[in-house]
Symmetry: C2
Subunit: 354 residues, 2 copies
Amino acid sequence: MELTERKKKVLRGVVDLYIRTAEPVGSKAIAELPDMNFSSATIRNEMADLTAMGYLEQPHTSAGRIPSAAGYRLYVDELMADYRLSMDETRSINSAIEEKMARVDKMVEKVAKLVSQATNLPAISAASRAGGATVKRFDLILAGQGSFILVLLLSTDEVVNKLIKLPLNITETDLKLLAAVCNATLTGLTPDDITPELLDKIMTSAGTSASLVPVIVEFTNDTLRHHGSTNMVVTGQQRLLGLPEYRDVDKAMTVMTSLDEDSLSGLPAVMMNENGTKVLVGPENVAQELKDSSVVMTKFDIGDGLQGMIGVVGPTRMDYAKVTARLSYFAESLSKLFAKPEQAKLPEATEEKQ
Amino acid sequence: MELTERKKKVLRGVVDLYIRTAEPVGSKAIAELPDMNFSSATIRNEMADLTAMGYLEQPHTSAGRIPSAAGYRLYVDELMADYRLSMDETRSINSAIEEKMARVDKMVEKVAKLVSQATNLPAISAASRAGGATVKRFDLILAGQGSFILVLLLSTDEVVNKLIKLPLNITETDLKLLAAVCNATLTGLTPDDITPELLDKIMTSAGTSASLVPVIVEFTNDTLRHHGSTNMVVTGQQRLLGLPEYRDVDKAMTVMTSLDEDSLSGLPAVMMNENGTKVLVGPENVAQELKDSSVVMTKFDIGDGLQGMIGVVGPTRMDYAKVTARLSYFAESLSKLFAKPEQAKLPEATEEKQ
DNA sequence: TTTTAGCACTCAACGTCCCTGAGTGCTAAG
DNA sequence: CTTAGCACTCAGGGACGTTGAGTGCTAAAA
């Protein structure tokens, strides 16, 4: 059977209405739509066809139709109208974003809250490193009797440090030597490059302070390995409860539990390989618990080799047009915010803190 | 009217049963309790008295009794039996805790999840600094053309750093001088001590690199000011939905919203001034939204001048004995964990990362 | 051939009514 | 002071009928 223009129009009408009302949509309601110059009987035939084609479903014989997952998919891909953000919306998003987002982890939390608020849905926000880093430079600073600070300057221009206390006496000369050795041998290496043999070699060249080498190497390894780790926040889960499809507490709990757990931890990774805004409708979700829910997500640039990701989870009946519009706008604004050199008074500074 | 021993026994019975069943408790059920050698009629009289005294309530005339807030209060303070953790419980808590808790913020998140799991209730976890910190030592490391790393060693032995890039040429000598000036003038100061006049004085003594001073001072101020800030996580909210009192979706949403928002941000502060485990029953909660819920919380030591706090939120009908027992054990174990010098291979090291 | 009016049919949702049973308070006897 | 007995209350749940939105099909109209 062919998907005529009229069928598409009917389908769009059904999805639009169902998104608004959460009630099965009948032929009469569609017939009464403006621009729909046919009687309910005609619509009825079209709807029967659409049902046969798998785009609509019927909860029971004497009820209206609701979109199937395939119906939503078609809607998202082809039918939905562009949603244009109102001035009010852009303004409120902007003013929310403009607040200072100091530390990355606080930023992730903040963004999640904002997105959740803007969409009235649970939101996910995450930040992760683009790729593996290496150490560009080692520094060792004496910090009093038997303690020194290890400072790593990474290839991403981040700085990481650790205060190390030892039951040993360390001299400035020891540290200078050690730093030189490390800089000579360990810079530019990934954790995998650091073999036990290499470690041995370094320890012999370190001479008297050989015992410090393992501590330094261990911390370096640790830092590089955990470097790509994702920072993720989920918030606003309770917003689901306001929606009719989650009045069924068990259903709500299932979805919320899957949000709370680490089952979502795959999402940011999925997103990183995609471009633009991605919509996962119902069963397209990998997680079984989300088979009746949809996910909309998009990514943005943070700078400093960081990638951000925001997304929301909601009923398959969510207002895709509005949600994708808001999410995209959010992502755009955030990218811009981080791209523009912070209007520091004098210098341009990259922050890396605690 | 006097609160006789028998009345207390009846009250304890009612609370215990109600905690187990979430159903109003009738006189017959109490009469059938072991150790309760009276007929239901007698119990009925006692229950009528307890109702008059405000310890019990009656949902409607032909229903059993449920404890009032005052009833719970009395129960928590005097009546409840000590709950002894089983070997299984202590073992599972221990093994959960033993996992490495690297960074403080990750630790807070982890602990929240564990507590929520152990109690099957939403949990709050927070960490915050005990008091203000000062800078013990400044270091400036040249990191290539026009950029250097500022390293602050704080009085708490934490290390904080920032990579600063400037459109200027900086020499090693400049930095040495600057570091000396900062160490001479800024160490041991709180943000409030740093007046504009002092800033002026430092800038003049800094000579050619005067323009760097404001950047350094700003970052220092920022660091010290944000030092005491609390790090808080709430998790497991969906667990409420499993409890009969929150089958009413609206009620659940109210409570969960108040958990999600920053209305809880006062709690950690409240706790810091208390000792031991604190129970807030229903209306004793400041937040109006929690008037039908209870909060149990306790604190623990993290070391490095950090204080931790864990708590759970649940229905007033929660199993106070079990929850307080588990929470206290958690707190104890965590304190121990952080107190014991990490069994590092060679040295004893304090970690401060990223 | 396509559209539409008409009609019989279906069925969830809702309200009404009644019954059941748990639990109560009171009274009078033990 | 305790308890057996009894009349009373009332939420919860099942049975039943009504309502109305929506359907599919057919036959006439365009």
